[in-house]
Symmetry: C2
Subunit: 435 residues, 2 copies
């Protein structure tokens, strides 16, 4: 892939542009994760080059025939064939490497893309587009205008009005960003507005190795708390409250998590049990500041903490857990912990309406890279079109292509001849088309 080679070659230019962004950001007082995401280093560029090779090596998502039949015995041949969606508008925040990741997925799936990056990364994004992506398209004999970069907030506003020209908007960023875009456009928007994921400890979780159970929950919550696939809620079957839950709770607290418990789960936390505490400490290295236990408030069940806090609630049975998730969850990713994957596990995966539903594993696995898509443009929590992590396949649609040999419907419908309207009107009432 030309882009991978060009990115290696243009390394110096890209890093220089990034350095200018970094200096400007420092001057503006940018800090924390936003600042961290802005900084491109050699290792990160190498990761991008590797990612480009991975996307290039994915099977071609276009031209796949997923339906192939004949319209009646002597009729035309009908195929359903995958094709690009069209023109995409991708809006993301500070991270300049997203430019390369997203553009590569769009190009691979045959779409044109208009990229709007964060203003902090303006110079880095421009360097990546001008030095890498557009020259790579030209080398491949494609139109470099397939990738375009816009920089100002005003231009986004105008682009969001072009619902006859832009086919899909993909916002990548905060829930507030996604919400504001959905409200500002009639173009379809693909994205998740929240990542309110839950882990549910079933009644039989006691039969599993307790350490493994605690590890799964701790991983779901703490492996990267700011990610959308991190768990925000722990649902505990009442029968598990006094079996495996105390170790899970102690491990979370040891890992620095504050638990917001309902009454039943609060009563089951064994803050004073030294045996459990020492086992918990062996599961997770003790955090500099251990978490607390606090009473939950009703709004907690709808809160995406995005940090070291977790809502904990006891449920009476599996349907209760499913109902809680379908009511309060965001359709992202939810996981059950059970000794009976075929029974309780299947009931859970069938009942929970989320885009990813797991059995006995961390919610953190919900990710396009881990799903084998090479990369992802985002995670969709919608019900229609692509759901879950969206890779190149989610950026395609399909069309029906049919080939005939002069086939007419009139000859198929028993008329046997092409009749003038006056005679044909007799047939109208049996027509199956729209009213």
């Amino acid at each position: 892939m030309h882009a991978a080679r060009l990115l290696s070659e243009a390394r110096a230019g890209v890093l220089e542009a990034n350095q200018a962004d970094v200096v400007a950001a420092k001057a503006d007082g940018l800090s924390g994760p936003m600042f961290d995401r802005l900084v491109l280093k050699e290792a990160r560029l190498e990761g991008l080059v590797k990612g480009l090779h991975e996307v290039a090596s994915l099977p071609d998502p276009l031209g796949r025939v997923n339906l192939d039949r004949q319209i009646s015995d002597s009729g035309p041949v009908l195929q359903r064939v995958s094709c690009p969606i069209g023109v995409l508008l991708v809006i993301f925040e500070s991270r300049p490497d997203a430019v390369v990741q997203i553009a590569s997925l769009c190009i691979k799936s045959g779409n044109s893309v208009i990229l709007k990056g964060g203003k902090e990364a303006a110079r880095s994004s421009a360097a990546l587009v001008e030095l890498v992506l557009r020259p790579a398209l030209e080398l491949a004999g494609l139109n470099p205008d397939m990738v375009q970069l816009v920089q100002t907030r005003e231009s986004v506003g105008r682009l969001l009005e072009l619902d006859s020209l832009i086919d899909l908007v993909i916002p990548r960023g905060s829930a507030a960003l996604v919400k504001s875009i959905k409200e500002a456009t009639r173009i379809p928007v693909m994205g998740h507005s929240d990542g309110l994921c839950a882990v549910y400890l079933h009644s039989d979780a006691d039969k599993l190795d307790h350490t493994t159970v605690a590890q799964m929950v701790v991983d779901s919550k703490t492996q990267y708390p700011a990610a959308c696939n991190s768990a925000e809620t722990l649902l505990v079957h009442e029968e598990s409250l006094n079996t495996v839950f105390p170790l899970v709770a102690a491990s979370l607290i040891s890992a620095g998590v504050t638990l917001r418990c309902d009454e039943l789960s609060m009563a089951a936390v064994r803050a004073g049990d030294t045996e459990i505490l020492s086992k918990a400490a062996s599961i997770v290295a003790v955090a500099p500041t251990p978490g607390n236990v606090e009473p939950a408030e009703p709004t907690d069940w709808d809160t995406e903490w995005l940090g070291p806090t977790m809502s904990v609630k006891a449920v009476r049975d599996l349907p209760g857990a499913v109902e809680h998730i379908n009511t309060h969850g965001s359709g992202h990713t939810d996981s059950i912990v059970t000794a009976d994957p075929d029974g309780a596990g299947a009931a859970f995966t069938s009942g929970v309406a989320s885009s990813s539903v797991f059995v006995n594993m961390s919610t953190r696995f919900a990710d396009g890279y881990r799903y084998g898509f090479g990369a992802e443009v985002g995670i969709s929590t919608a019900r229609l079109h692509a759901r879950g992590p969206v890779g190149v396949e989610g950026l395609t649609t399909y069309k029906y292509i049919a080939r005939g040999a002069g086939h007419c419907v009139a000859l198929f419908e028993g008329g046997g001849a092409l009749l003038p309207p006056a005679v044909r009107s007799a047939y109208h009432h049996v027509d199956r088309d729209r009213e």
Copy 2:
């Protein structure tokens, strides 16, 4: 299928309710196609029973696994499995048989459906729901509330606000209906707002049998002019203007169609050529009132005539035809007439972005029944999710289901252990998740 049997048994009750609707409609002065569509007869009920059997015999669209892989070598197993969308709101106009057709597709695909029929068909719709559909669900051990009927316009307005409870709105009716619903709701809407279909006569159409070519165009335009898949526009390659076009034009005129021609095509119509007129008359029985030829106006290219009028335009080449269609068409169905299906035909099907693209056949074939879907809830001209005729498959979505054995992401990412936040922060910059 219980519904088919119940519909046969409840025939008398349904016809009685329909008769009451018919009497009321007559009193209100309803006439024309709206009135025709309202009337249920024995033959039409038999057609519905047959349709129910067909939908019941379709393969189960749920639980299909269309992706199955392991997340890395020792990782969890990931599957993508088809599942229902959820709760659908289907809004349609007078035709009561649509109640049965649509509900059967929704039930087959595991969705719940709220039906809003036209007020003219209120009694017929209620009879079909209460005497056939809900009892059939109960007999099948399903919740009869999976199918619900609402009758008033006010309740639709309130339902369109429930974007957290209703997953998809399917309007079946006029472009005005679809447009008004799209503007009134944040729920995704699946439907076509226009059926502006074109037939393009390529430069080599002369090599085909002229009679067959004329039949295809006449069928596309006149077989049921009010249907959305009827052609509204005829594009003619300049080289075909004086070869096959005169017969096509004469045939359309003989069939009662008025041609709205641009200058070049106008000049090519041979109104006085008796040989062509007699050949045209042999292709279509002469209509009581033959059509005319009139000069086209610029707005014609964007007009869905829905009647015996057709816009005609000369184009310089195939890309010109493709561009016209992608600019003025509605993404429904377009057809090329060519002697070179592999060359020009493939270029056309690749270039035209519509949901159905045909080679050498009438646009009227774009229909769920003819595509083998048993029936259709409508035809979608959107780019996302289901496109073209939408049957049970288009009423499903999918979820990712993964099964692990206590898998944690931390152990997969080189950490090798579950680390507390302070240590883990070092890993954050390589995380591939959302910003």
